[in-house]
Amino acid sequence: MKAILLFDLRQFARQLPGYVILLLLLCMGIFTGNKFNMSAGEGVEPGSPYTIGFMLGLLSLTVIFIATFFAIRMLFSEWDNRVNLLIFTTPVRKRSFAAGRFLSFWLLTLSGFLFMTIGFVIGQQMRDTGTAFHFLHYAYPWLFFGVINSLLVCSVLYFAGWITQNKMLVAVTGLLLYVLYMVILLFSNSPFMAQSAPQSPEAQQVSALIDPFGVSAYFLETRNFSVQQRNTLMVPLSGYWLLNRMVAVCLSFLFVWLGARSFSVHKKIKKTREPKEIARPETASAYLPVAVNTGKTMWLKSLRSYLGLDLKITLRSISFVLSAIALLFLCGMEMYAVIEKGIRLPRKYADSGLMATTISGNFYLPAVLLVVYFVYDLYWKSYSSRFYMLERTNVLSSAKYIGHWISVSVLISVYTMLLFLLGLLFQFVYAYPRIDWAAYLGLLVFDTLPLILLAGFLVWVNSLFTKPFIGLGVTLVLAFVLAGPFAPKLLSYPLLRFFSGFKGAYSDFCGYGAYLWPFVQRWLAGAALTGLLWILTYAIRRRRISLAGTVMSLVCILVGTFSGIQFMTGYVPRSSGKQQDNNAAYELRYRHYQYLPQPVVTDVVTQIDLYPSQQSYTVDGYYVLRNLTSDTIGKVLVNFTDGFIIQQAILDGQSIDTAVSEVILRRPMQPGDSLQMKFAFSYKWYPVNGHQSFNAIVENGSFMRISRYYPAIGYQQEREISEERIRSAYGLGAATALKKPEDPRDNNWGFINLKMIVSTEKGQTPLGTGELVKQWSKGSRTYAEFSPGQPVPFRFAVASAAYEQQKVRYQGKEIMVLYHALHQENVDHLIDNIKQTMDYCEANFGPYPFRSIRFAEVSAFTRGFAATAYPGIIFMTENMVFHADIGPGREQDVINELAGHELSHLWWGNSQLSEDEREGSAMLTETLAMYTEMMLYRKMYGEKRMRERLAVHQQLYDEQKGFSAEEPLYKVTGNNTHISYSKGAIVMVRIAEMIGEERVNSALRNLLAKHRYPLQRPVSTDLIDELLAVSGEEHHAEIRKLMMER
């Protein structure tokens, strides 16, 4: 055993490629440690023991790939090099050999991971992680993740290798381990899953037990950790994590034992099927030579022969079958998860867009690995089987390159077709039979085409080398860099990412939007470059370039250049470093404006012209600025948003043409004076830069939180850098602190009189903020004028889409729902809920401030919220809640939640209770909206169902509380949604149980009566005061505790 071990290690040490591999792993580790900051929460340091632990846990996934490489290289080397008959006829014992080989395999894999870890440490130390270096913080997780995971992976591959004696099956086993892990992660308590799709405790426990990499168990064991614990404690090996690690070790020993038992010196003889009869020649005649033809027709036949042979060998192989099953399983589980969405969100309709985007998001990376392997396997098959001496002495063997490329392309197409069929199956099973072919076209464009191109490129790369494992190593690295998950970071120039897939949205409103065609353009540029590489290499080998080659090269250059230029149109390089520099410079230069009097905007008159088909809009309008201070204002700081083109801006007769301008007023504004500021600006986005979620002007279903992009007056505090370490690096002092509830109130409400005209292209309905005043058409455009009819906060949004509408009048108000024609399922139910919410809120809190309420659906290109409320209108994204499957038997009525929560914002927030930006402001909006939601839920569905929803919020709160500093509810800040939403709901329901719902509502009524605009501006303690005022003294301590303690 020792002899085998030492021999293998020495062999590795003697070869240069081994050192290259270790160096590459080291570099990958440095890159990961330096560039990746998977922060689990605001207060949790990147260099904390908790973060290092799970980062190394996730990094240990790479052991799969390291181990698979070594397994293929080492487990079959005796047979590959044909020394098996020599080695195994020596006195070496089978078990000793098997044990020695396992040890060397494991140690080399572990060394690879060790180098990666060392690189990770170096990378982390190269940046400021906020924590000093502690060896144990790295060594401890390295031991329990790295060592155990590598032991487990190696043991599984070892067993697979020796029981199957098939390299491809070893590779597929590695892939299956990865798939298993990804599926388990869906059901874990991962902090990355908890926010979007938290799982039930039972699911998390099962996930923790069966996760082969132990990361799910690690998450579960730390679910109750506070921020301080995560920053200081090494996670103790206990509970589920200990159990998981013990199971992993035991399984490893089992697989090693099984593998050693399976080890055989003889290759398995496989059964072959009975072939069909081919006609025998009539007589055994003399040798008759036959003339050959090596022209183009025969070359094409050679191509076909390669294709036939490759597919005959591969498609029937168990390896292909297993890898297809693995892909189907992975994508199937992801589809299931994305439909069922865990405990927080309702089930989604299994529409084609959802299926296609789920497949695209999960198929691509495993497919890249499969492409690398199939290209390697097919390209080098003749070399590894020593057939090349027969093959390469034939002229038409030159068809091999393209033949293998086409073969791999066919395999990719088969995988795509299988996944397409899986998508259809899910649609059928989940009773959503409408097939949107445009959605599935995305599979072809975003997955199949780039993979085919990658295959062609990798065949070319392999053709540059004479040794198979060098080809494999180089293609693995190239695939990782060019098509792997880190490609966007490694290749900052977008045109170079033509081997990457696409993880964008699909919308029933506008399909893949403006992204589809540019993706094809980029692909064409990549195809042209790949073609050029092939042509030039062929010409260099032949030492001449034919006329056809010259013409094709020119075509490639033209197509590539043209497509590339088209794709890169409008490109603006983005750099987070540059943005940071700009923000720091802004603060250094303009922060003093915080202490200078500035006018406020009191009136906004504006016209917004939307051009959805061109992804652009223009804004025209003017402000009335008033000096509401008691001081003279001599200069005004005007801020425009980056990325917008200022067509015109005039203040005090002076032209403004930069994003930030200090305007020295010719005549200073006295208290009470007013000035008009005119402006006109435009915006257009280009697919190469991507779009912004809240500024999504798209072909159909546009939504823009457009007030954010209007010129702002005075110092913009939100531009400040929040991280202290970075601030001190720039020489900035302390950031502007958020006001506390007890700080003096700002009775400058900042409300405006708003009048807006929105226009859009014919066939779409323009939507603005406030009441619809009038609507008209002119030429090929549709116009609508909106005005709230009363002062509202400086916060307004617009939308535009081709809508279906449903409208009812209820209690003197107009209720309108605007939606996509295919999303009608929940409209009636929404209208019912709107009515119920309206009744409840008017009865308990006060009159609804407007004459109408509209709920408008917008495209999935807007992400980040399920719904958002503005004066008189609520916008809902199509793929979160509005178009959910809440059919009979489903437990969660999200439409009720949507209507109750969002509509109540027209009382809590917006134009009635509008708090300024300070600690606790989120409580006055979100907590009160959650309370309203819960009360409505109870009213409609009963106490039991409301309790179930509350239990979900309890779980959400428990899972999230350990990732940021705990704040008392009355001081909650906007980031801590688990407090303002979930804990807030629990606290308010608890108070209602204590003192009665009626009393709570009366407190809220009083709060509104005293603090609605334009009376005294509310702070969070006002709510506490009102609750105390309506409750008996015996409840005061509890109320204070619930509201004011952590």
Binding site: I269, P281, A291, V292, S385, F387, T393
Partner: protein, 288 residues
């Protein structure tokens, strides 16, 4: 008339390992035998001629075309049977031979099928044409190799140890086949079996350490040794003494008795004259 001209070919694998050293040969239609010990450079020469590796120096012409610069010209009319080759797994003999026939340029399909079946019949593999080649025994695989070397219309056949692994009957069959086809084409036969060279080849060369040691017609080489080959039986223990005093070119056990053969202009004492055979030519060439 086909002609293969090898002009001062040299090849080194590393700085200090010269496998071919200034080899020049001119070979026309007929069988040409290439004899030499292991490591002499026979296989390297074969692989260089067929274009699997490029020589460091020298040129190779086939019918006046430079095939080092343009190996494709040779490949169109080449049949190559390497010493040691492999096959794809999971492919039947018929399908693999058909694939090679396509790569060779044999078409249309009906003609290709006819030739493939005919060749399988010729090498006695017709009954196994549906069997996967990777399951064949060594001898069957060698016969498959022979069949593929004859695909198309080769004008140059290079066979490296072609009868290795064949039983005597198959060897005979192969030799007859080669004899049949070699009249109008160039066949280079690299072998250890001196007997095959004697029986089949009109020209031969002996190669050692990458150099040609002897070249010519077998009959001429035999004539040169006439009257210069002597033999006697000796004790095994006395062999070193004879090796130091005589030019021993071979030794052989005949009925457990060691007989040595020496080369000398005159008969040494105690020796008797021996009729020169091709083995003597071979061993004498190696000892020069």
């Amino acid at each position: 008339m086909n002609k293969l001209l090898i002009d001062k070919i040299s090849l080194s694998y590393r700085k200090d390992v010269k496998v071919l050293d200034n080899i020049s040969l001119e070979i026309s239609n007929g069988m040409f035998g290439l004899l030499g010990p292991n490591g002499a450079g026979k296989s390297s020469l074969m692989r260089t001629i067929v274009g699997l590796q490029k020589p460091d120096e020298g040129r190779i012409f086939f019918n006046e075309h430079d095939v080092v610069a343009r190996p494709g010209f040779l490949h169109k009319q080449l049949g190559f049977l390497p010493q040691d080759f492999g096959v794809y797994p999971k492919v039947s003999a018929y399908n693999l031979l058909d694939h090679l026939a396509v790569l060779k340029g044999v078409g249309p399909a009906a003609i290709r099928k006819k030739q493939v079946l005919s060749l399988l019949e010729k090498v006695n593999l017709a009954a196994f044409r549906h069997k996967e080649v990777h399951t064949f025994s060594g001898g069957m695989r060698q016969r498959f190799g022979v069949a593929q070397a004859l695909l198309g219309n080769p004008q140059l056949i290079i066979a490296d140890e072609p009868t290795a692994g064949l039983d005597p009957e198959e060897r005979n069959r192969f030799n007859l086949l080669l004899s049949e086809i070699s009249e109008n084409i160039v066949v280079i036969l690299s072998t250890h079996l001196v007997e095959d060279v004697r029986n089949l080849c009109s020209q031969m060369a002996v190669i050692r350490n990458g150099r040609v040691q002897a070249l010519g017609r077998p009959s001429d080489m035999l004539a040169n040794l006439k009257g210069k080959i002597w033999t006697r039986a000796i004790d095994t223990a006395a062999l070193p003494a004879y090796q130091s005093s005589h030019k021993v070119i071979s030794q052989q056990l005949i009925e457990k008795s060691l007989h040595i053969t020496v080369y000398a202009e005159d008969m040494p004492e105690g020796f008797s004259p021996a009729e020169p055979v091709l083995e003597h030519v071979y061993f004498h060439s190696l000892s020069v």
